[in-house]
Symmetry: C2
Subunit: 358 residues, 2 copies
């Protein structure tokens, strides 16, 4: 099977590596407008050979993945479809699906979106196991070929991912909520704080990790995100309006000084997060452990090593160093009752105070 | 010098430990309505002796720290002032200052707020070094005694913190922006997502770390936060209204499909965050390194150990495990050009792909 990969960055490169390593008889042909990326992909073994054009890459291809920023995808997919044979499935990996789906009703096209690796660009971060156990949304249209869908599904499984069929519009609403909205909130928060602090003539107080966590994705990679904001603008705008309404409602609650309602609202958020994360992470209920540690080199290491040795995997971790960097709080999220209990025991044995957040 | 500590949880206990260890001739008398907490504080060496009442704790005291949830502070401070001698400074550690300042104009009262340890409750997490290099806001009123302010300032320095004078209203607006607003945003985001997912009949997609980071503080400790929301309601409500306006403005930008304006807005957020964090962390410009790592036990450890050995301290860290937990992204924030360059080198030597986020 010949697979054409158009755009050999992190995602395209990882598709190439995974296909070559895991799919019997796969031959990966790569094309990229940036010659240096193509050479790097060749060197990393992400492609069998480099093509000089989209047309050349598609010659004799059974499947094609268009891997480019969302804004460039409609044109790239159109080029791929124009060059592809009648029996070639053309897909893409954009994180907004409607804008590509709307541009073609070709039965050979089936949109896709692997939920992996959004943070770092470049083929140097590509890995054969990037998609292992990751969800990979597939968004077939009404006219998409069933045979080609089956083939694409098989390739995605071969790459290590779990295909999930979803219609393009639902996908875009979903991502607007759980991915695009958090990015906008981070941007708004950081800009509002910067302006408020400047207005007060104050520096950022050395508060806890809430501000840093909440703004970690602020101003995310503009090359990718401007495209996403444009391509999913309607769905994101709807989420922003809803969030604004919710903020106004909380403001009213606060002005009314209704302690019971405030507590109920806060408790509901606590329960919502726990439910969402448990569904996300499986492996049992997620427990949050809070540990006080000196911030000496090697302490995080010793905790990680101790849990690792016992087979306890850390689902999520947050460090909150004190301002002097000499001490701090470590929060660990552990899935499963037994694993959490074991972790508590081990951390206690290391001599660090640990409590389970209720 | 005799110091009365009313409420011996994390903060009160740490004040006791630090005072006993670091302030020459300090005698710490503790009171807590919860007898078990008092016994635990005694056992941990956080207090020299336990008092049976506020009045008993204040007998002969030169200074007093009221350490209780914000809602309980006005009454506790009033009790302390009633029992305190004419030469005793009474302070508190609440994270909202106006509500306490408004309740008294006694010259012996000077509000305070150490920016440390908000996350974990309980004297078992108390540490003598909890306040090392932490900012400790002091909010003297117009009638506060200068001599007592000097004494309180000296004690706070003795505990290891850096006193920062600020008026109570400015303090509350500042904290509304950088601490209380992020908590509300986290709550709103998690509830909105939960509702949207339920509406679509979908589970939380296995998206990257943005959602988890942004919602980490959702539904924070209700015992503390209901009080904070009530006590600083006006200032927080103003921030919420502003955030809502900003969200509406972004929604308009998206609906207008103005690529240039969207990019400018996103870039501004990027610049704002960098500026805020640099001011916060000092030690030079903060560099963000992105590393692809297998998620095997010991990998985080080996990176931490390698940097630690070279004297490179990790300012902030975020792990983003892939869904299968076998691989992932590690983001490290390192302050200082040289330290970041050294870190890049060391991580490269460990064999992990690393790039510096621009």
């Amino acid at each position: 099977m010949r697979i054409a990969v158009l755009g050999v960055g992190l995602i395209g490169g990882s598709i190439g590596l995974a296909a070559r390593e895991r799919i019997d008889g796969a031959e990966v042909v790569g094309y990229d407008a940036r010659e240096s990326a193509l050479a790097a992909a060749r060197e990393r073994g992400a492609i069998d050979r480099a093509a000089g054009s989209v047309g050349e890459a598609l010659e004799g291809a059974d499947a094609c993945f268009a891997c480019a920023p969302v804004g460039a995808l409609p044109a790239l997919v159109a080029d791929a479809l124009a060059a592809a044979g009648g029996d070639c499935v053309v897909s893409d990996v954009g994180s907004v699906k409607g804008v590509v789906a709307d541009a073609t009703s070709d039965p050979r096209f089936i949109g896709g979106h692997p939920l992996a690796g959004a943070e770092s660009a470049g083929v140097e971060h590509a890995r054969a196991d990037l998609f292992d156990a990751a969800s990979w949304y597939l968004t077939p249209g009404e006219r998409s070929s069933g045979i080609l869908y089956e083939r694409l599904h098989g390739i995605v499984v071969g790459l290590g991912a779990q295909p999930v069929a979803i219609d393009a519009a639902t996908h875009d609403r979903l991502l607007a909520t759980v991915s695009h909205l958090p990015h906008v909130l981070a941007n708004v928060l950081v800009s509002q704080a910067a302006r408020a602090l400047a207005g007060e003539g104050e520096a950022l107080p050395r508060v806890g990790p809430s501000f840093r966590d909440a703004t970690r994705v602020a101003g995310a990679n503009p090359d990718i995100w401007t495209d996403i904001y444009l391509a999913n603008g309607e769905a994101i705008a709807a989420q922003l309006d809803e969030a604004a309404d919710r903020l106004h409602a909380v403001a009213e609650l606060l002005r009314a000084r209704d302690a019971g309602a405030i507590e109920t609202w806060n408790e509901a958020a606590r329960a919502d997060r726990r439910r969402l994360l448990e569904a996300d992470l499986a492996g049992g209920p997620v427990h949050e452990l809070r540990i006080s540690v000196p911030n000496r080199p090697g302490i995080v290491a010793s905790v990680a090593l101790s849990l690792g040795k016992a087979g306890v995997n850390i689902v999520d971790m947050a460090l909150s160093p004190a301002p002097d960097m000499r001490s701090g709080q470590m929060a660990l999220w552990i899935a499963g009752d037994d694993a959490a209990a074991r972790a508590e025991e081990l951390i206690g044995e290391l001599g660090f105070p640990v409590t389970r957040a209720s």
